[in-house]
């Protein structure tokens, strides 16, 4: 007595197509989730912590669209870059002085009326775990998987 389980060529093709669709949806959702997180969590918190005497640095903040490569999906975000702005007092571009403002933990003679150094790195590190949870939630939702499923 025996049973033979078979997958015909049409079924296999259909299955591959379905998997490709799922993979594509996960990529799109993942990219959007990364962008949302960068924009709505990290850059928001960063803006609060960023020194903003003239608001030049804050206003140079940017989040790019997701890019899909062979290595995965990435979203670039930060300060300077395509949204670079000129400081109206010093006439320097934000990209020229943002590293010093960010990295100088002991800026002698410089008092930031608001904000602090490490205004970008701190929110990134603080939210690492939350990012993973956000990504997982969005991808599960796309694949229609309930939490714990």
């Amino acid at each position: 007595m025996e049973i033979s389980l078979k997958l015909d060529h049409k079924s296999v093709t259909q299955m591959i197509n379905n998997l490709r669709q799922i993979l594509n949806s996960v990529k799109i959702t993942g990219g959007q989730a990364l962008k949302e997180f960068a924009r709505d969590v990290i850059m928001m918190e960063s803006a609060i912590e960023c020194p903003r005497k003239t608001w030049t640095l804050v206003n140079s903040g940017y989040v790019e669209e997701p890019i899909t490569t062979a290595l995965g999906i990435s979203v670039k975000f930060g300060y300077g870059g395509p949204e670079d702005k000129m400081n109206p007092i010093t006439h320097k571009m934000a990209s020229e002085y943002m590293i010093i403002v960010h990295e100088d933990l002991y800026p002698k003679g410089v008092v930031h009326p608001v904000g602090k150094s490490k205004f970008f790195e701190d929110p990134v590190r603080r939210n690492e775990q939350l990012l993973l949870e956000h990504l997982g939630s969005r991808v599960r939702s796309t694949m229609n998987i309930k939490p714990g499923g």
Binding site: I99, E103, Y106, K108, K118, E121, R126
Partner: protein, 130 residues
């Protein structure tokens, strides 16, 4: 009392990257001209263990730009021996620390006295200070 920053200072002196009187922590005094100082910024502590991930920025100042660069790299290599990622080092008999690098040494600026300042950032996983 164990203090990571103080342990880093003493280890740096013991390894002859700096000498007593020129290695500091939590401060950037105006003199001596040439110095190394360890500064700390926001890290993470674990609510369920005695470990914490500390964020440390060694800050190297020298009147010679080249000396600042060389000292910064010597310090970088001190905590990153044999090119092994995430090295564990015993700073003291009772203090172990696992170092992870966030960037390589780079020139941050020249100060008002034309002294060059190099910095780099590292994560240090270690047990909590007592």
């Amino acid at each position: 009392m164990a203090d990571l920053l103080l342990d880093l200072v003493n280890y740096t002196i013991a390894q002859e990257i700096g000498t007593s009187g020129m290695v500091f922590y939590n401060d950037v005094p105006d003199s001596p001209t040439n110095l190394i100082t360890f500064l700390e910024y926001a890290g993470k502590s674990s609510p369920i263990s005695d470990f914490g991930l500390r964020s440390i920025q060694p800050n190297i100042r020298n009147e010679s730009s080249e000396s600042a660069r060389v000292t910064a790299w010597a310090l970088y290599n001190l905590f990153h021996p044999n090119d092994i990622e995430d090295s564990i080092i015993f700073l003291t008999a009772t203090r172990w620390a696992k170092f992870s690098y966030r960037n390589e040494p780079f020139k941050l600026k020249e100060d008002e006295s034309h002294r060059t300042i190099y910095v780099f950032n590292m994560g240090v996983l270690t047990h909590k200070d007592e």
